[in-house]
């Protein structure tokens, strides 16, 4: 198939100036490239500060990318003005992490879900708007009775469903999910993941699914990308990355997950990762992971490894593979 992917990111870079430190910048995202096909899901994982959320926000132009290209449906949107971008926003929506902060507490659920319709003038009439809001509410498992209520009356899971309804009411093609489940209780996380999977099948959506919980990501993703300090260090089909992680960081990350099974290997046997993240203002030269890598060599300290394909759609940025 030579069809153009729905979303294509090339060398996306996002630097933020550091206040009062001359020309120093925070290297939030440094040269990330990936693509998401129609109806596919890319899971982006990594620890806090690795740049995965920044990456999402640069794609949807909350931040203005420093350099690189974002192509939606083949069209380069990186340098479009906000006005030119407006019609394209219908194709691309976002679900946020914090179900408490991402809904305006002074608006009813009806107004919240209806906001995209009004911003784009998408509803033909008042009736049509109300119809579409109620249908959307039903789809996320809420009822007409909920429409007149305020977000603070809802539980976390219900709020997140309102957030999903708001993102999906315009029938976008791409939904960027920025840690949509990390603020929720365990029993609710699965509800949301199932709901997102159902919507994907029904509407043919593509997701960029960002999370730090590797086990949930596996459930929803076709492919998984692992980020470390603003760079993509490993990228492969989902099953592959869990079965054969190649990058030492991915291996460490997987080993760190506490397995909910007391009979399996307990803590002391697993290696995990040691040390802390270096400063993103002065990232280490060479491979950015070498300060914590158990296998680091002289080469790793000097030369930055490029993301190389090692077969089967599995790409990794490590000198040792």
């Amino acid at each position: 198939m030579s069809e153009t992917p729905l979303l294509q990111i090339e060398n996306l870079t996002q630097h933020f100036p550091v206040r009062g430190r001359g020309h120093k910048v925070v290297h939030a995202v440094d040269g990330v490239s990936f693509a998401i096909g129609r109806g596919r899901t890319l899971g982006l994982v990594g620890e806090s500060g690795c740049g995965k959320s920044t990456c999402a926000r640069s794609i949807i132009r909350i931040y203005e990318p420093t350099s690189g290209h974002v192509r939606l449906d083949g069209q380069d949107i990186t340098r479009l003005s906000q006005k030119q971008l407006l019609p394209l926003r219908r194709k691309m929506q976002m679900i946020f992490q914090d179900p408490y902060a991402s809904l305006n507490g002074r608006m009813t659920v009806r107004a919240l879900i209806g906001e995209p319709l009004r911003a784009h003038g998408a509803a033909e009439s008042r009736r049509d708007e109300e119809d579409r809001i109620l249908r959307m509410l039903e789809k996320v498992g809420l009822t007409r009775e909920h429409a007149g209520r305020y977000p603070h009356e809802f539980s976390g899971g219900q709020r997140q469903r309102v957030g999903i309804a708001r993102a999906l009411i315009l029938r976008p093609e791409l939904v960027i999910c920025d840690e949509p489940i990390s603020a929720l209780d365990v029993s609710i996380q699965a509800q949301i993941v199932n709901m997102l999977r159902d919507f994907q099948q029904e509407l043919g959506l593509s997701y960029l699914f960002i999370a730090h919980d590797l086990s949930m990501v596996r459930y929803i993703s076709d492919e998984v990308g692992v980020m470390y300090m603003g760079q993509l260090v490993e990228h492969s089909p989902a099953e592959d990355i869990y079965a054969h992680p190649l990058h030492p960081y991915t291996q460490g990350l997987l080993a760190s997950i506490p397995v909910p099974d007391p009979s399996l290997a307990r803590l002391q046997d697993e290696e995990g990762l040691s040390g802390d993240l270096p400063s993103p203002i002065d990232p280490p030269p060479g491979c950015r992971f070498h300060t914590r890598c158990p296998h680091a060599t002289g080469c790793c300290r000097e030369e930055a490894p490029a993301l190389r394909n090692v077969g089967g759609g599995h790409a990794v940025a490590c000198h040792l593979v």
């Binding site: 949807i60 971008l85 926003r89 976002m94 992490q97 914090d98 608006m107 911003a119 305020y150």
Partner: protein
């Protein structure tokens, strides 16, 4: 409990039901506000003051500017001398006139003077109903005394409440109660208009500066800095002197200055709010700047805006009173609390009540609004919400 072990229907809708009765943010705030005694007391005081100020003057039999010079300078409570005839009392005013009072405390008339016997340091007044008979006012001592026709001092006195003018009259014989209510009306009007104008200007200015940020914000806030470096009082006085024109002048003067605080507060709020996810969400949805500002940012900053505005009212009242006091505010015969204080300073020694009463009202207003503002701040504070 007929069938305790029967399967209960687990309705899907039931699982999502929200048991609480729906109420908006406003109702929530009110419930919290009503739980605070000081805030509630402040609110009641404000409402009472407003009612008195708005309805009071029209219920009063006197007008704020009608002068009854013959009954000038009578306090709300006074000590009257018992006249030789039963049921009659005489009150000696601070400027040594004699006012006849009945046993209820009603002011009847000023006694006509018969003769000024300045050699003997006494003045004779006709005191009978048909102007027969005389009383003498002896001002030889520090405290003037009344003597009957025979020259014997009338020693018996009685404390009476002023029934004609409940809070007494000022040095021009105007009813102080009416003037207080009228003055409060003017003061509150000035304060409310100034607060409303400041709220609109400050909110828009601060909102735009905060939302646009960057260079626009820097320039706009430097303008605010410049305005706030000029001493406020001086600035208001200058504007007032240039504009003259009483009431309008003072409103313009107050409105054009106080918004800087409001602008700062709103800008700060907007700066922190615009980083919140719900504003980012609105941006990714494609909502325009105007929409984001008016439906997302300002309603969420409304709490601090209201608190600041409520706190602004007492300071505007104080500023108005101050300007009127130093004589560049409301022009006579209009009354404001400040002009009343000013008028009272002349007769401060003899009639301190004339200063005390308007000063008390100013205090009351300031306290009440501060309590309301405090209560609003607490009940709007999202920290206390959970």
């Amino acid at each position: 409990m007929s069938q305790p072990w029967a399967r209960a229907a687990a309705a899907g809708a039931d699982r999502e039901r929200i048991a609480a009765t729906p109420h908006s943010f406003g109702v929530d705030v009110w419930l919290r506000f009503a739980k605070k005694p000081t805030a509630l007391a402040g609110l009641i005081a404000v409402l009472l003051l407003l009612a008195c100020a708005l309805i009071g003057p029209s219920l009063s039999p006197y007008s704020y500017d009608k002068q009854t010079l013959s009954l000038a300078g009578v306090p709300p409570v006074f000590t009257a001398v018992v006249a030789p005839e039963a049921g009659r009392y005489f009150y000696i005013t601070p400027n040594q006139k004699i006012i006849e009072v009945d046993d209820q405390g009603r002011l009847l008339r000023q006694l006509p003077m018969a003769q000024d016997l300045f050699m003997e340091k006494r003045v004779s007044y006709r005191c009978g109903p048909q102007d027969e008979g005389l009383v003498y006012l002896d001002y030889s001592a520090a405290k003037p005394a009344l003597l009957d026709e025979a020259g014997n001092p009338l020693a018996a006195t009685r404390v009476l409440w002023n029934r004609t003018y409940l809070l007494g009259t000022d040095h021009l014989g105007r009813d102080i109660l009416t003037r207080l209510m009228y003055g409060a009306q003017i003061s509150l009007m000035v304060a409310f208009i100034a607060a409303a104008v400041n709220m609109v200007i400050g909110t828009l200015y601060g909102g735009i500066a905060g939302y646009l940020g960057g260079r626009v914000d820097a320039i706009m806030m430097r303008v605010v800095d410049i305005i706030s470096t000029i001493p406020l009082t001086l600035y208001v006085i200058l504007i007032k002197v240039c504009l003259a024109g009483g009431l309008v002048g003072i409103i313009v003067a107050l409105s054009s200055v106080y918004w800087v605080d409001m602008a700062r507060v709103v800008r700060g709020q907007v700066l922190s709010l615009k980083q919140q996810e719900f504003v980012l969400a609105a941006r990714t949805i494609g909502s325009g700047t105007r929409r984001i500002l008016l439906t997302h940012l300002i309603p969420n900053a409304m709490g601090s805006i209201l608190v600041t505005a409520t706190m602004l009212i007492p300071s505007a009242i104080f500023m108005e009173a101050f300007m009127s006091f130093i004589g560049i505010g409301i022009a006579p015969p209009m009354a404001s609390l400040g002009t009343m204080c000013n008028d009272a300073t002349e007769a401060l020694r003899s009639s301190p009540y004339q200063l005390f009463l308007p000063a008390l009202i100013i205090c009351l207003i300031m306290f009440a609004f501060n309590f309301v503002g405090d209560g609003l701040r607490d009940s709007l504070d999202p920290q206390l919400k959970r």
